[in-house]
């Protein structure tokens, strides 16, 4: 079965000088929930941004392909690419406090894509939005639709952003650390909500996180990233049974165990980091030749 999203040999650099993503291969099949883990700065968010067409201006795609539903994004006209992404993919952002436009009411921020990009009638989009707000368990959706973001709590806003991401029935959702900005108590609810929505709608999910505990709860497959290089691409069962890379194993050791949250943790040993860095150097050298 061919994947809904396929990334092949994606190289992204900072102005052609500094490699940010190193020949990344990654596939997400329809309905699959894939975790994308790695330490801060590994390039997780940049993979999401490359898929959704929002890479910062300073970053350049050097080579490689991104296929979304079989279409090579790099070969499309910009306007068609944007519209394809808007129709088939969506983002659940990290920080609900900054991801809604403070000057616009909630309603139009959910319905705009349906009306402007997908050509729905306004009334249909409106009832779809109400339905979704209900689905993410927001009480009094009609009031919320008329509200401005500052009138709502962070948890409410994240629910709205989730509803908005599912609005166009996308086939793929990129969730970039969707719970890290929230209170611990709210985190669990939001995580469960994303999982339930994903299951109900059968949407593929690329879930970016540093939290292996979260990964174990919602993901089926996993990509481990270090310095923009994919170290491991595996299933959850295999990963937790026998991590395929020393860095993955060390990462696992550095994560609190679900069964023993207060157990002792070993930070990733320097030797493992040195080995991973050596792998990056080897990659860069091979590429230069």
């Amino acid at each position: 079965m061919s994947a809904f999203l396929t990334i092949e040999g994606l190289n992204v650099s900072l102005s052609g000088v500094l490699p940010i993503l190193r020949s990344v291969d990654l596939a997400v099949h329809a309905g699959e929930v894939r975790g994308l883990v790695g330490e801060s700065g590994a390039g997780k968010s940049m993979i999401g941004k490359a898929i959704l067409g929002t890479l910062p201006r300073a970053l350049r795609i050097e080579s490689g392909r991104i296929l979304l539903d079989g279409e090579d994004l790099q070969r499309m006209r910009p306007r068609d690419r944007r519209r394809l992404i808007g129709a088939k993919a969506a983002l659940i952002p990290q920080d609900p406090l900054t991801a809604l436009n403070p000057a616009r009411r909630i309603g139009p921020q959910i319905t705009d894509r349906l009306v402007d990009i997908l050509g729905w009638r306004r009334r249909a989009a409106l009832s779809r939005a109400l339905e979704l707000l209900d689905e993410v368990r927001i009480t009094d959706p009609e009031r919320v639709m008329r509200a401005y973001p500052h009138e709502l709590s962070g948890g409410m806003r994240q629910r709205i952003l989730i509803a908005s991401a599912f609005a166009a029935e996308p086939r793929l959702i990129v969730a970039d650390e969707p719970t890290t900005a929230l209170d611990v108590t709210v985190q669990k609810q939001i995580l469960r909500l994303i999982r339930d929505m994903q299951a109900r709608h059968g949407t593929a999910l690329l879930f970016v996180t540093h939290d292996l505990g979260v990964v174990s709860k919602i993901c089926q497959t996993l990509t481990v990233l270090y310095g923009g290089l994919v170290l491991e691409d595996t299933t959850i069962e295999e990963f937790f049974a026998a991590p395929g890379h020393p860095y993955s194993a060390a990462l696992l050791g550095a994560t609190p165990k679900y069964t023993d949250p207060h157990g002792s943790l070993t930070p990733v040993p320097q030797s493992v980091i040195d080995a991973a860095n050596a792998q990056l150097d080897a990659f860069d050298r091979a590429r230069r030749q």
Binding site: L52, G53, T54, R57, P78, R79, R82, R83, I85, G86, A87, A89, A90, L91, P93, Q94, D95, T98, A99, L100, N101, P102, A103, R104, D112, R113, D116, I117, Y148, H150, E151, L161
Partner: protein
């Protein structure tokens, strides 16, 4: 109701400001050298003529006494009588106010439209030659004050390529069948576009001279603010929905980027109104500013006093208007 409270507070500060301005101006114009009596004396007038004239205009009393008399009149709507024209100050000042308001508002509109277009274009084409060009033009516009722009414009469009009128508010041969002195406004209402065209051809250069520096400030501030906003998460989210650059700039970034610009534009607009004094002189435009300079030359104390108070009142009104607009545009202030 914070809006109501703000308004009330503003009303109080307005009165305090106006009172302060009145006191300062009253004292200053009476202690600086040069007095109005000397200027109106016929040759060969004697000491007693001077005393009689001083008594006539109330200048024989002490300054605090004079002030109290003046204030008493003002509270009854009487701002005194002009020494040079012997007409009531209020009447004189109100007859010139529309000309200056029309000029200032015209300049403001030019500045906002030009500055806004430059800011949007610069943001759309940021990082390229066009933005660099806009920055250079802004720098030039800001390094030259409005009256020098006035001279440049007179040279360009009055002398070298005479397409606009360089003097006055309206051609003398034109009949003005109007009931107010807001000629420009009324010519539109009455569909007299012949008169409108004549007014515009007089007003365009002074308005442009006043507008150029303000347009540059708006362009610079708004562009800066837009560019910062373009990095924010909600703009990125809108892009993932399928929206292109133009849409994202105008619908997502602009409504937020306008707010910080607005406050500063309010302050700058009061500077622009101050600038009308010299610009009106330069273009012999019959407004308040021109009248103010004549009043100073003639040491027409009551008239100077009246004009300054009116300018102060306009400034506070502009600030009030900016506050209200800010509140209307900012959802965080609109409710609760």
């Amino acid at each position: 109701m914070p809006i109501l409270k703000r308004l009330l507070l503003r009303l109080v500060t307005t009165f305090v400001t106006l009172f302060g301005v009145a006191v300062i101006v009253f004292v200053v114009i009476r202690v600086v050298p040069g007095n109005p009596i000397a200027m109106m004396l016929p040759p060969g007038a004697g000491e007693d003529d001077i005393l009689r004239l001083k008594a006539l205009y109330g200048l024989d009393k002490s300054i605090p006494e004079q002030f109290l008399i003046w204030l008493g009149g003002v509270l009854q709507g009487d701002f005194g009588t002009s020494i040079t024209t012997r007409q009531p100050v209020l009447e004189l000042v109100l007859s010139r106010l529309p000309a200056t308001l029309e000029l200032s508002v015209m300049a403001l509109i030019i500045a906002v439209v030009a500055g806004g277009i430059l800011a949007l274009t610069g943001t759309r084409l940021r990082g390229g030659r066009v933005e660099a060009g806009i920055d250079v033009a802004n720098g030039m516009a800001l390094s030259v004050p409005d009256f020098l722009w006035g001279l440049v414009l007179i040279l360009l469009f009055g002398v070298l390529w005479p397409v606009f009128q360089i003097s006055g508010r309206v051609s003398p041969n034109i009949d003005l069948p109007f009931s107010t002195r807001f000629y420009l406004f009324e010519s539109v209402l009455r569909l007299r576009f012949d008169i409108w065209a004549d007014l515009v051809s007089h007003m365009f250069m002074p308005a442009l001279a006043l507008a150029i520096p303000l347009a540059a400030i708006i362009a610079q501030l708004l562009k800066q603010s837009l560019k910062e906003t373009m990095h924010l998460d909600y703009v990125t989210l809108a892009r993932t929905k399928g929206y292109g650059e133009n849409h994202v700039i105008i619908r997502e970034a602009l409504p937020n980027a306008i707010l910080p610009t607005l406050t500063l534009v309010g302050v700058q607009f009061t500077f622009l109104i101050g600038g009308t004094v010299i610009i009106e002189r330069l273009f012999s435009y019959e407004g308040l500013g021109n009248m103010a300079i004549n009043a100073v030359i003639n040491r027409d104390l009551p008239l100077i006093q009246g004009i300054v108070i009116l300018f102060a009142l306009i400034f506070t009104m502009v600030n009030l208007l900016v506050d209200l607009t800010y509140a209307a545009l900012n959802p965080r202030l609109r409710r609760g």
